[in-house]
Symmetry: C2
Subunit: 259 residues, 2 copies
């Protein structure tokens, strides 16, 4: 790339990550030139919401953009990398899991732009504090990605593919599995006609606490106190066998830490 | 009880819950008369921090308080209930797990005052939105507890012992087990020299999201997407066998929901 800033962007993918990033980029004054998705519905929906053209064929991708952001399910990145070719512009993917090398043949300029956050439909996100993990095939491209990231967040980190994969794994425990705990709690409550909202202040405080304390200091509960009687009764109260197993496994993990 | 308000309180217990509640009560203008703990160090520490007398012998408990709050480890409530006798004042415990009947012989006025929150040392808590689950042996006492609770929170709920136990179990998943997920993530990161703070915005957003979306809508991640390849690789990356098992169990729980 000869330019020293990223001004124009093509979004390849129209899912949760692409949708939220489109909003963040628009706020920084960058121009999104086009949205691509295999699915016409998704491509059109995102493209129309931000007022840009869309396409469903990688052959029709505009060739003049400064940056192409591949933001699709991990397993599809490789498929796209086989088909997509761009002349000069930089290509990045946004996956925590896939190595940078997956897209090395798409362009001579490539990298990774991984926003470490959970994105869902119907929930806006504050980009200002999102850690963005960047990696690029050379220093100049890294600098370009850094400038782009700094335009909407204060937290930009150089992370290579190996470390990024570890962060992604830790994020699965922190976010996806935490949400699975909420789901179990909801099921337990709904079976007894108790509204889930009673847990919301607790959920908020549990997350808040970890901003100040480390997980070992923040741990409370029967397993932490080695309260065997309560644990035994809890297990007997659980009607779902998977929930019972989970209760036992996680409690034993906590107990091992405090033995 | 003949009085129509709770003005004076004796705290039986000096742990995290008692300490945080003492602060909340003081802000409402109630008078704490005394702190009891089996441990002299704990009793003295809390009592001195709020400027009241303390004792380590249940025989020396002041008999004129309006309310006695037993805030000790679940298994100790029964032991205290056997020894403690008060004449007239109301006695409550603060446990989510123990039934109200555990303390029925301590006084003719008794109940439960369960603040649904996680309390740790060195972390203050906003009481204003904490759900307080109350139960009492008669309507008058229930009203007294409701007034007390309403003096510091907007969320007071009548919950009987059976439902409270279910809420407590759901809270273990929501809070204690969520914190255990943070601990696993921290261990994974520290092994690779990556600072845990990179996950903090994600932790906050995961909790934030559940204020607006239900757990099913909020779920993201490889298991949600049935991304078998990523899951397989994640499992192979986990060095700790307990973490591997946990990853498999929770992923399979998520997958079952979305099959």
């Amino acid at each position: 790339m000869n330019k020293n800033s990223i001004d124009t962007i093509v979004l390849i993918g129209a899912g949760n990550v692409a949708t939220h990033m489109a909003a963040a980029f628009k706020n920084t004054g960058r121009k999104i030139l086009q949205v691509y998705s295999r699915s016409e519905i998704s491509a059109r929906q995102l493209a129309e919401s931000i007022g840009v053209p869309w396409c469903c064929d990688l052959k029709n991708i505009i060739q003049t953009a400064d940056l192409y952001i591949i933001s699709v399910t991990d397993s599809v990145i490789e498929i796209i990398a086989k088909e997509l070719r761009v002349s000069g512009g930089m290509v990045v993917h946004t996956s925590g899991f896939e190595p940078m090398s997956t897209i090395k043949d798409v362009s001579e300029n490539f990298g990774v732009f991984y926003p470490l956050q959970t994105f869902s439909k119907n929930k806006s996100v504050d980009f200002l504090t999102i850690p963005v993990c960047i990696e690029a095939n050379n220093e100049d491209n890294l600098k370009l990605l850094e400038d782009l990231a700094r335009s909407f967040t204060t937290d930009v980190r150089y992370i290579n593919s190996e470390k990024r994969k570890i962060i992604h794994l830790a994020a699965v425990f922190t976010s996806n599995f935490t949400n699975a705990m909420y789901a179990v709690a909801e099921e337990i409550l709904l079976n007894a006609d108790i509204p889930f909202d009673i847990l919301k202040p607790l959920i908020r405080e549990t997350a808040d606490k970890i901003m100040q304390l480390n997980p070992a200091e923040a741990q409370t509960g029967p397993a932490r106190r080695m309260d065997v009687e309560t644990m035994r009764e809890h297990i007997s109260m659980l009607e779902n066998g998977n929930h019972r197993e989970l209760y036992e496994k996680i409690s034993s993990l906590i107990q091992k830490k405090y033995q």
